[in-house]
């Protein structure tokens, strides 16, 4: 192994020397190109976590050979050479380089050679943040689905410091089940909720406990947020039919016909309702807990259509959600009254997918022209709301839809789904947020083979950053998913906002 490394090093150094000497042979030196090279993915000007895996990339320029030099303000530079343009950075050297350049800049010089002539591009600049991102990223991989029939869908965990990834749950192994949003409490992997919809194994939610036990709850959890203590999870129950546009860029759309928010307590297996969050005249969705667990934030709007309506109902494109919050006393379990945090009118659009940072200062949210599902709205951008003074600002305004923001546990990074790189094939991007809420340029999660994004139909969404590796064994999840439900709450499985008489008071566990 060592011999191979030495030989590789000698060859690389040799190639670089030869290439540089060739350019000197011309007597003119390399021609300077007054721009940065085109690369895929584009990492130029990105602010990267101090523990991220190497940013492997492809130089998208025409040349016979490329020589790349990655250098920081400190430490040894990394020299690489490639004929295909694929730049695979050795992980050990990369780690050393970003470790010693923490909080500083590193640059990537690209020298392209063709027919003995060399071109030197303007260097790509990266900034290594003075903070690390949570090591594990759990996301959902799926095809851009239009009507889930049997398309592949997986919940996958990725180690962001390396390229290692593994599947937590694969829909194909559950009779092509649809797997819904997964959620964890406060970036901890010890508890997880994930929904499954299978024609064979039913509609249910899997709940993992810290002891590794998995419950199968006979209830469909929508968008879910764990209380930071892990004692409770608030989730929405939605009725979300899909419909299609004949001509707009994104054909898919959905409408929240009816919704409400319920709470699940894993210790008792109880599901309870909170009266202000089950108003029949309102649509309540996207619950998210504040860092201290004293407030539940959610999105709401008045329900403008009757119980029975055509799909989509008239005025579906006029529905805009406000951001609200409701006080919760973790000691007594008492709920307060809903209060407006940020109105749709103020931000000039609909608010969705709010997420609180764990330092308690920020709420990130998506703003789109209408509706509750920003992934299918081309104009969706991510905003930051400063909870200390109530001001908000646009944070990520890349072209096309940005959605599913999620904070790292140190509140210094946002992971989110973006269509800016590959259109409907959503990619997970990472963006640095400094303590004052200034954002760095986002970058796509690096892959070992940088062309992997350009040769697969997988789209990635619903990122969740975790401090530790999820310990749950996939086999336990599969077994629980295939078993009969172990928790049967007394709440209708599919309908949102049930009438008062249709459910029993919380507490009854069958």
């Amino acid at each position: 192994m060592i011999v191979r490394l030495i030989l590789t090093y000698i060859v690389l150094v040799g190639l670089t020397t030869v290439s540089l000497s060739q350019s000197k042979d011309d007597g003119s030196g390399p021609t300077r190109i007054g721009r940065t090279p085109k690369t895929y993915p584009d990492y130029d000007k990105a602010v990267i976590p101090a523990n991220i895996a190497p940013l492997n990339m492809v130089v998208d320029e025409k040349a016979d050979v490329f020589t790349v030099r990655i250098k920081g303000q400190q430490g040894e530079a990394i020299e690489l050479s490639s004929r295909s343009g694929k730049i695979n950075i050795p992980i050990g050297q990369w780690r050393k380089l970003i470790k010693v350049n923490r909080g500083m800049r590193i640059s990537i010089d690209v020298l392209a050679g063709s027919n003995g002539k060399w071109s030197l591009f303007e260097p790509l600049e990266l900034t290594v943040a003075d903070a690390e991102i949570d090591r594990y990223l759990v996301y959902r991989a799926m095809h851009p689905t239009h009507q889930h029939v049997a398309s592949p869908i997986r919940i996958t965990c990725r180690d962001l410091t390396t390229f290692r990834d593994w599947t937590i749950l694969d829909g194909a192994r559950l009779d092509n089940a649809c797997i819904n949003c997964h959620s964890f409490p406060a970036n901890r992997p010890d508890q997880m909720l994930v929904g499954i919809r299978s024609s064979h194994f039913g509609i249910a939610t899997l709940a993992t406990r810290p002891d590794g036990h998995v419950e199968k709850i006979a209830a469909k959890f929508g968008y879910t947020s764990w209380h930071p203590s892990g004692d409770m999870a608030a989730y929405s129950i939605n009725n979300l039919p899909m419909f299609y546009h004949a001509a707009r860029p994104e054909p898919r759309d959905t409408v929240d016909l009816d919704s409400m928010i319920a709470c699940y307590r894993p210790k008792s297996g109880q599901i309870s309702l909170v009266p202000p969050l089950t108003d029949k005249q309102q649509l309540e969705t996207w619950p998210t807990w504040s860092a201290d667990g004293k407030y539940l934030y959610y999105c709401t709007t008045s329900k403008p259509w009757p119980e029975r309506t055509e799909i989509p109902p008239a005025g579906y494109d006029q529905v805009r959600y406000d951001l609200m919050r409701i006080h919760f006393d973790p000691n007594t379990g008492a709920w307060g009254q809903g209060e407006l945090v940020l109105s749709a009118k103020t931000v000039g659009g609909s608010i969705a997918m709010p997420r609180c940072s764990l330092d308690g200062r920020w709420i990130s949210f998506c703003r789109c022209s209408y509706g509750f599902f920003p992934t299918w709205q081309h104009d969706s951008d991510i905003y930051l709301l400063d909870l200390t003074n109530g001001s908000y600002r646009i944070a990520i305004a890349e072209p096309k839809a940005q959605s599913w923001p999620c904070w790292s546990s140190n509140s210094r990074f946002l992971a989110f789904s973006s269509k800016s790189q590959d259109d409907q094939f959503t990619r997970i991007m990472i963006c640095y947020v400094d303590p004052n809420g200034n954002l760095g340029r986002p970058f796509v999660v690096p892959q070992e083979d940088p062309l992997v994004y350009r040769s697969t139909l997988w789209a990635y969404n619903t990122p969740e950053l975790l401090k530790d590796k999820p310990a749950i064994s996939a086999n336990r999840l599969y077994r629980a998913a295939m078993a009969r439900p172990s928790v049967k709450p007394n709440l209708p499985v599919t309908s949102a906002t049930p009438k008062a008489a249709t459910f029993r008071p919380p507490g009854a566990r069958d």
Partner: protein, 562 residues
């Protein structure tokens, strides 16, 4: 009667289990990391040969030969070499399966591999040596991992072999181990359900099970032919031995019986209508319109064939001239009766309903898997919509598929030079027609397409065809007056027939002033009406007797058809 493997490769939107195959380590590693994945990977690779008729035929023939040879060896090893006629069941069933246009190469390779594994294990499991038995069990576990439920066949064949050649404890142990391997490896180690662990790559999971009738049995017969044949041969052998009757060599007779069985299977399983469905779709993909029309003329009405034929007629500028020479139904024009995403996508794209095409293609990918033709279509949709990045992803995926890589790379190079493909006439034509006014509820799309782009000839001809089929003469006259001369410089026969009818019935003819109908058509109309009147109210008789003379006219469709 010819089986064309290209039709199976194309799937025609009728085969849901044809595998996709990608070059590269990642798909290989993904496959070998699950029970049965290795077999799936190998057969997916072999199945790509169906892209070419001769290569596909070579693979099918080789598979049939291997199935026969391995069966012969097995029967010989268990002392039933006189019963090798049973070995011909495999090739006959392979022929029948392909003749029925079912994809079952995984079953064929799986059952052949199972026989091969059995032969290997029989060498090890004979005798009572512990180490041989243990090695056989280990190999069997590996065999389950590689071939999935096909290894159950190993258990059955080993059990039969044990019975045929005298039971030994090791043969019984190995056979029992083969039966519990799916539980131990599939259920306990891998986390599958019991049903999945035992049924993976077996006839249980074959989609033919959803077909009504005998074809549903074919995968089962393929799987069980050898064990059943071997058991039958054993019974006959015992019976013959009991009666002390010596069996005479019947090699020639066996060969004759096998040939007759082969011919019978081919004759029985050949379904010209089914073949027409596959052929029409294949030739539509390759834009061989003449063949599409010829096939459609030769078979009775079919929803999908009629749709493809109308598209072929449009592309050969015959839709308005001779659509009624084929059996017609209004629902088939735009496939509005039953969902047919596979078939609908191409028509929608050509009409300018790009989002509808995208939607149909995406749903088709969900149903049929990542079929190259669908990925290619989706790439085109994204280029038309101005999403070059998504198109690159799709073409990059296609570049990993055998036989498609070259085309995909060419397209990628074009995209690199010109992300809008602004010089590609097909893309430009689609962009011109592309619907730009949005709606979300079911709406008649063709008038909208014409409102936006009156020179959309396909939308015009399809709208006219729709009016003809629904006998909406007022709509036809209105559309004719508004859009005809933008799109055509002559008036097709059926339009003239319809205009004449509209004039005769005084429907929406105000705008037709100055337009004259060709004399021949007027004479045909007069002749048709006279003949029709002669039948009085007996329309059934009129329908039968006037078909030869007037069957390809719109008059016939209007009064007697539809």
């Amino acid at each position: 009667m010819v089986i064309d493997p290209r039709f199976i490769y194309n799937t025609a939107g009728l085969i849901t289990n044809f595998p996709c195959f990608y070059y590269g380590w990642q798909p290989f590693l993904e496959h070998i990391s699950r029970p049965g994945g290795t077999l799936e990977y190998i057969t997916a690779f072999l199945a790509q040969a169906y892209y070419d008729r001769w290569l596909g035929a070579a693979v099918i023939t080789a598979a049939a030969c291997l199935a026969w040879l391995s069966s012969c060896w097995y029967l010989g090893r268990i002392g039933l070499s006189n019963a090798r006629i049973a070995a011909t069941a495999g090739p006959i069933l392979i022929l029948a399966l392909h003749s029925q246009y079912l994809y079952a190469l995984d079953m064929v390779v799986g059952s052949t591999a199972a026989i091969g594994i059995t032969l290997g294990l029989m060498r090890l499991a004979y005798g009572n040596a512990y180490w041989r038995t243990c090695l056989a069990c280990l190999l069997l576990a590996l065999a389950y991992w590689a071939t999935g439920g096909a290894s159950l066949l190993v258990a059955v064949l080993l059990a039969i072999a044990a019975m045929a050649s005298g039971l030994t404890w090791s043969a019984v142990a190995v056979s029992a181990w083969a039966a519990i391997c799916p539980y131990l490896i599939g259920v306990l180690a891998y986390g599958d359900s019991i049903a999945t662990a035992y049924s993976r790559l077996t006839p249980w999971q074959h989609p033919a099970g959803q077909i009504k009738g005998v074809p549903a049995l074919l995968p089962w017969l393929l799987y069980l032919a050898l064990p059943l044949g071997a058991i039958a041969a054993m019974v006959i052998k015992i019976a013959i031995a009991d009666r002390r009757i010596r069996r005479s060599p019947i090699g020639y007779l066996e060969a004759l019986v096998a040939c007759i069985a082969m011919v019978c299977a081919a004759w029985w399983s050949y379904d010209p209508r089914l073949r027409a469905l596959f052929a029409v779709d294949y030739y539509s993909q390759t834009r061989d319109w003449k063949k599409v029309i010829d096939i459609a003329r030769a078979v009775p009405y079919n929803y999908l064939i009629c749709h493809a034929a109308n598209r072929a007629l449009f592309h050969t500028s015959q839709l308005g001239h001779s659509m009624f020479s084929l059996p017609q139904d209004p629902a088939s024009l735009l496939l509005s009766d039953r969902p047919a995403f596979w078939h609908k996508a191409r028509t929608c794209m050509e009409l300018g309903l790009i989002n509808e095409a995208e939607n149909a293609l995406c749903i088709a990918i969900e149903i049929y898997g990542e079929r190259p033709i669908l990925i290619d279509g989706l790439a085109t949709v994204n280029i038309v919509k101005g999403n070059p990045n998504a198109a690159r992803v799709l073409l990059g995926t296609l570049a990993r598929v055998p036989f498609w890589a070259c085309k995909a790379r060419q397209r990628l190079n074009q995209l690199a030079l010109d992300p809008n493909l602004s010089t590609d006439p097909f893309i430009q034509q689609l962009r011109e027609r592309m619907l730009r006014r949005d709606w979300v509820r079911p709406t008649e799309p063709l008038p909208r397409l014409l409102e936006q782009y009156p020179a959309n000839r396909m939308a015009y001809e399809y709208l006219m065809a729709q009016f003809l089929l629904t006998k909406d003469l007022a709509g036809l006259v209105r559309t004719f007056n508004q859009y005809h001369w933008i799109n055509m410089d002559r008036t097709p026969r059926h339009y003239q027939e319809a205009l004449l009818l509209a004039k005769a019935l005084d429907i929406g003819s105000a705008g037709m002033k100055g337009y004259t109908i060709e004399t021949g058509i007027s004479e045909t109309f007069v002749s048709f009406m006279r003949t029709l009147a002669s039948f009085g109210s007996d329309l059934d008789r009129a329908r039968r007797q006037m078909k030869d003379r007037f069957g390809d006219t719109y008059f016939y469709y209007f009064y007697l058809g539809g």
